[in-house]
Structure formats: C-alpha cells, structure tokens
Subunit: 197 residues, 2 copies
DNA sequence: CGCGACGTTGATTTGCCTCAACGATTGTGG
DNA sequence: CCACAATCGTTGAGGCAAATCAACGTCGCG
C-alpha cells in the first residue's frame, strides 16, 4: 500500500486533489499522454505553430510569454512542477499575439493533444470538471494580477510573486521576473537590493 | 413587416445578432424580465447586497467599479445602450472586492434574476449559447485590456477607449474615464488638451 | 583564455501623481 | 431671481518611481 502510494505519478496526485476518479479512468488518462523533454533555452511552442497540446510539468521550469508590437516580452506565466501550461485563453479566441513557451531549465513534460482530450472527456467526464476547475483558477489568477497591478507598487508585487511561486526567485533569472512584473531588469535589481537590507 | 421590425425591442435585436430563436422563446424570455429605472448618481448595486441579477441597458449609461483597499476607484466597465452589466466574473468566484454599479445618466434597464435565468436555460437552451458568447467576449475584453495596459501609454489607451465606446467621451465625465484608465483626472485632462492641438 | 550572458550601479530623463489654485457650470434655497 | 455652494475641468509647481542609457564586474562555457 505504501509502495503504491510512492508509485503514484505527480499528475495522478494532482488530479486527485481536485476530483474523484477510478483506477481505470486514471489508466485511460495515462494511456493518452506522451512524455517529452525540453532542454533549457529550447522552445516548446513558437508562433506560427498551432497549439494543439496541453502540457503538465513533471520536472523543470518553463515560461510562457508573448511579444508585443514594440518587441517587448511579457511573461504570462511560469510553469514549474505540477503546473499545466498551455494557451488556455486560446480555447476562446486567438488574440493575434505571438506566443512562446520556452524552457528555463531542462524539463520533462507530459503532453495530451486535443483529440485525446476529447476522447478523455467522452469516456471519463470527470476530467471535464478537472480542466474546468483549472481554467477557472487561471482566470481568477489573471483577475488578481490585474487588480494587483492597479493597486500595488512594484516591491509589493515582487513579494507577492515570490510567495505564489515557491522559491522561484532562486531558480529563474532576474530579467524573466522583470518581464513578468512589467518592469525593467534594472528596476527589479534595485528593488531586490533594497530588500536585502 | 416593416412595422414589426420597428416594434422589436432592443434586447430582441441584440439576441438575434448572436443566436437563432423562435418567437415563443423570445416571448418566454420577455416574460421573465422586469423593467426598472435608475436615476443618475443612484446605485444599482452596492457591496453587501448579493448580486442576483443581470441587467440589460435599454437607455442610459452606467459604470461598474470597485474600491481597492486604499480607497481608490477602479472602473471595470461602462454600460451603455445594448450592453449587459453584471459581475460576470462572480459566476466563478467572489474575489472579495467591493463592487458598485452606479448610473451616470438616468437609465432604464431590463433585469433577469438567477432563478429566471435557470428557467430560461432549461426551457430555451439557445440562451445558454447567447450568454456563453457574451461571457467569453467579456473575458477577451479583459485580456485585451491587460495587454493594452502593458503595451501602450496613456494617450494610446485613451484613444482606444474612445474608439471602443462610441462617443462616450462626450457623455461621461472626465474623471470616470480616468478611473477606467487608471490615471489621475489631471493627467487625463492634460492628455485631452494635447489632443486638441 | 576570451566571449557572451547576466546582474548591478550610477546619471539622466520622463511620465505621472499629488497638492493647490482658479474658472466655469450647475443646482439649490431663500 | 439672485447668492451661494458644490461639482468638475484645467493649469501650474514640485516630487517620486521607474525608464533609459551607459559602464562595469562576475560567472560559466566553448
């Protein structure tokens, strides 16, 4: 029993936090996944390629960002262990942005494509609930980020960011975080040094 | 035939832009609505009161805003003729914000409460589609606004705002628009005067 | 070793906020 | 109908946070 607990994959543990599923449903889900690895600085997604997968991070760290018309990077989200990463909002409409998903560390991922996702939903509807909850949380997170940028100064937002991604300030380069917060790398550097005192 | 066209209510015209419905479905919908008026500067929604309705603007203009912890107003949306106004995001979760909906002009509205909305969805499922489309558009609009605030300066965002709400800069006071854009009324005033040249 | 990537620090500029004053308009009560 | 207050937009002055531009140090890697 204990051994079986240890054998659970991270994604199975994650799913069971949100929904109840039978062993056969989990097995179906596992059979629809493919595993892949991405080396640091390589891209999982680039513009022009239709995004057809959702990815679950088993190990590693990635960032999803887009380039605006002026060429500035804006990091939409980071993805570390036990995060799903995809262009969830693209489920609704494509907003004509150039989306990139780039590995920051060597990463191993699980992928499920859209057809398999449909199969999963048909045969195991509990997963509809799982993904709906994740999507809803993504929207709420986005909402919070909007409010946060309206209400708080950069230092407060940096501390909030560190709290929401545990220990990430030691895994990810400074300038990635600056892109996420929407400030220059120099400004964030000054904020960090003011916090050390 | 022409006369019947003229007799269509604004909300009926709006619905038929998005979905196909029968006359009896429209009649059911109309029977579930109640009409109300709100005088300028009066509130349709205030914190503490559970939001149980969706409102369609027949005539007039309102704004939905919240107060942050520092007491600053942030206008989420304006609602003019043919707009629905409600806390759509509250369908997902309540984010513990203090929401106000205030009439800027004397306004006449149609209201539908949650129970009637459920009845409508059960008896006329096409309306599920109608409201899903509206909700999706609201999310996309929010997304665009986030990107806009990251990419553009205040002048560009003011012009974008004027383009998205036709002629609104002549209907709504300066400081309401400033609250929407997240700048001070003085700054917006200076931007406006720079545009006149 | 030499190069590139990254973080830090300084100097300067810029956009916006805040505070303050003032004019124009509107609403209200005597 | 007038006097007064309240509301709103505009303009100026001062200050601050962050952007920009630039220089420099450090680290890791081919």
């Amino acid at each position: 029993m204990v051994i079986i607990e240890f054998m659970k994959s991270p994604v199975e543990t994650h799913i069971k936090k949100y929904i109840s599923v039978t062993e056969s449903e989990i097995n179906l889900f596992q059979s629809l996944l493919t595993e892949l690895t991405v080396k640091a600085k390589k891209y999982l997604v680039k513009p022009g390629i239709q995004l057809k997968h959702c990815y679950f991070v088993n190990k590693g760290c990635l960032k999803a960002y887009y380039l605006d018309k002026k060429g500035n990077k804006h990091v939409i989200q980071f993805a570390i262990e036990n995060w799903w990463v995809s262009d969830f909002e693209a489920f609704y409409h494509n907003l004509d942005i150039k989306l990139y998903i780039e590995a920051i560390e060597d990463s191993t991922l699980l992928a499920i494509n859209q057809e398999n996702l449909e199969i999963l939903f048909t045969k195991a509807p509990a997963f509809e609930r799982y993904f709906r909850i994740l999507l809803t949380n993504a929207f709420i997170g986005q909402r919070k980020r909007v409010f946060s940028s309206l209400e708080k100064n950069t230092k407060e937002r940096y501390l909030e960011f560190c709290a929401s991604y545990p220990n990430i300030e030691n895994r990810v380069q400074n300038y990635h975080i600056a892109n996420y917060l929407g400030v220059s790398a120099e400004s964030l550097s000054r904020i960090r040094s003011s916090l050390k005192c």
